[in-house]
């Protein structure tokens, strides 16, 4: 369980995030949605201890993210930021192998190599495993990054806009992979998404944010309501019933 108590972050007098209070249960996919500047990424980064919070406490699996040793947290929690531009020229396999760092400190064991191969195969990167990252397309590269964080085999996986810059086919493929990772490997995935319909189709829970506050948190059906979404996005949004559940029209 991810438990956030009174977490706050002040960027400036006008830009304040929090106080946030939320308990994200174990297993499944939880999506964070909301307009730009609502504090979705800030929240995710604070959980992932990449951003220092000004006040409050966040615990992941009963470990306080601000006091627990970084290496211990690295076995429980992983986070992938939105933009990953590496100057370092690594092959896909080398990159994914870094996911094993918290366990083997870079000296990969036979067991590690098996786990690396497992995630490379899972993300359909087998053919590309010895290609350099700068020789891949955007979608392939994104898959390699997500394969790296999953290779860390942590219970909790945080992803900041993993669908950014992906076309529809790649985005669907990515969400299918995440769905399978949540089900087959029992991971708890928290993901920031911009597209409400992706959130509705693939997540178990949705957390909607606005003006640095949590506006609503619940199951997909509880959140996918026209008044609620119209209010959060300040745009007229209607909900119709599609073949796979509710669909937002805007």
């Amino acid at each position: 369980m991810i438990k956030i108590q009174n977490a706050r972050k002040w960027y400036a007098e006008e830009v304040k995030i929090g106080p946030l209070n939320i308990e994200i249960p174990k297993a499944g996919i939880t999506s964070l949605i909301g307009p730009n500047g609502a504090g979705k990424s800030t929240t995710l980064l604070m959980i992932g201890r990449l951003l220092h919070m000004d006040e409050g406490q966040i615990t992941v699996a009963n470990m306080d993210v601000s006091t627990t040793k970084s290496n211990d947290l690295a076995k429980v929690l992983t986070i992938l930021r939105q933009e990953n531009h590496f100057v370092t020229r690594l092959t896909v396999r080398q990159l994914v192998g870094f996911g094993r760092f918290p366990y083997s400190k870079g000296r990969l064991t036979r067991e590690d190599e098996k786990i690396i191969s497992k995630y490379i195969d899972f993300f359909e990167l087998t053919e590309l495993e010895h290609r350099f990252l700068d020789e891949l397309s955007g979608g392939q590269r994104q898959r390699a990054y997500v394969a790296m964080v999953l290779c860390q085999e942590t219970e909790y996986v945080l992803l900041d806009e993993p669908l950014n810059n992906l076309d529809i086919a790649r985005a669907v493929q990515m969400m299918e992979h995440l769905r399978r990772a949540a089900e087959e490997f029992g991971r708890t995935i928290v993901v920031v998404l911009h597209d409400i319909n992706f959130a509705a189709k693939y997540s178990d829970r949705i957390c909607a944010m606005k003006h640095g506050q949590i506006a609503a948190f619940g199951s997909v059906r509880e959140i996918m309501k026209p008044e609620l979404l119209s209010d959060i996005f300040e745009t007229k949004i209607e909900i119709i019933e599609g073949p796979y559940g509710p669909i937002a029209i805007y």
């Binding site: 992932g48 690295a74 990953n84 370092t88 080398q94 760092f101 918290p102 190599e113 191969s117 195969d121």
Partner: protein, 347 residues
């Protein structure tokens, strides 16, 4: 982008093989003594031998030829090798920690700070010993490199050109200050030679501290994996449970020690840290553990070659090796720039 597949990478590119035999694969990946590497080592040893027998003094026919051989030729060649390895490796580490391939210790101001350290030592102590000079150079290099990193973390514009520009600016300011100090205190004679790195004055008793570089090299090898992580940036390093700040501190200390020693013993050795790691990275990618031996050997080879050239070009006079390195470095720098722009256009 041209594909440069080394034979060892080729042989493990079959997926079925890698799945069935993960251990064998990992052994292969870690393998350093490949045939191209052995050839490279042989070439460098050859260059070393050429360096031993290049010079104006006729060591075959003069009576004290053998003595001269041990007093100047061997020290000079050893110094070349150690300096080459040191500058190439610190260049590589600088690339990783700044996440920028256009910088190296002489373009982020480290060398200029080492120079300032030397000036201060000369100023405070009348005739300083080599150890005192070295300590001054190392301390100032460390402070200077830290200042550069502090700048870098607070300047959000991390475009690949801004970083070296900041470094070169910082370096120029420091070097201007050093020049002012030397002129003001009328000590230009003892310091001005320093800015032109040359291996000509190297002889027994003047170069032995360069051996400390071997220790630095061992530490770099031990921390190779962590330093590669530094190249992926603070966020990824933190996510993988590494203390990024401590890592940067360690990297800076290693850079400062190596550059400080080289600065005190040899002088300014520009561009080596830029040329060598970039060439190695273009061909082999950036896995630090397997690249380090290559970087060392290429560094040794490049500087030895340049020094032999410096001795031969204008015989019986000798050019400072930094002049040749500077010329070569500028060409490679431009090539890297053009190549970067081309790949961006293709995307």
């Amino acid at each position: 982008m041209p594909m440069n597949v080394t034979p060892e990478v080729e042989s493990i590119s079959q997926p079925q093989f890698s799945e069935q035999n993960p251990e064998q694969q990992s052994n292969k990946k870690q393998k350093i003594w490949t045939i191209p590497f052995i050839i490279a080592v042989i070439i460098v040893i050859g260059l070393g031998i050429v360096s031993l027998f290049t010079g104006v003094y006729d060591i075959w026919n003069q009576e004290d030829g053998l003595d001269m051989f041990f007093i100047t030729r061997i020290p000079r060649t050893v110094a070349l090798m150690l300096t080459g390895a040191a500058m190439a490796m610190t260049g590589l580490i600088t690339h990783l920690v700044t996440q920028n391939k256009m910088v190296e210790p002489t373009t982020i101001g480290t060398t200029e700070w080492a120079g300032l350290g030397l000036v201060f030592v000369y100023l405070l102590i009348p005739s300083p010993s080599l150890v005192t000079r070295m300590t001054g150079a190392i301390l100032f290099s460390f402070v200077g490199t830290m200042i550069f990193f502090f700048f870098l973390r607070n300047v959000k514009l991390r475009s690949s050109l801004i970083v070296p520009i900041i470094g070169i600016m910082l370096g120029s300011v420091i070097s201007a200050f050093s020049t002012f100090m030397t002129l003001y205190f009328r000590m230009s004679q003892s310091v001005e030679n320093w800015f032109i790195g040359s291996f000509a004055p190297i002889q027994v008793g003047r170069y032995e501290y360069l051996w400390v570089i071997v220790i630095v090299t061992i530490i770099i090898f031990l921390y190779a994996n962590r330093l590669t992580l530094a190249g992926l940036g603070e966020d990824v390093a933190t996510t993988l449970g590494v203390n990024y700040n401590r890592l940067i501190l360690l990297a800076n200390a290693l850079i400062a020690v190596a550059v400080g020693i080289v600065a005190a013993v040899v002088g300014n050795v520009p561009f080596l840290g830029l040329i060598v790691p970039n060439i190695v990275s273009m061909i082999r990618g950036d896995d630090l553990r397997t690249n380090l031996p290559w970087t060392c050997v290429m560094g040794m080879g490049t500087i030895t070659f340049c020094d032999i050239l410096a001795r031969v070009v204008n015989m019986p006079f000798e050019m400072p090796v930094s002049t040749i390195l500077g010329t070569l470095g500028a060409i490679v720098f431009i090539l890297i720039l053009l190549r970067q722009r081309k790949s961006r256009r293709l995307r």
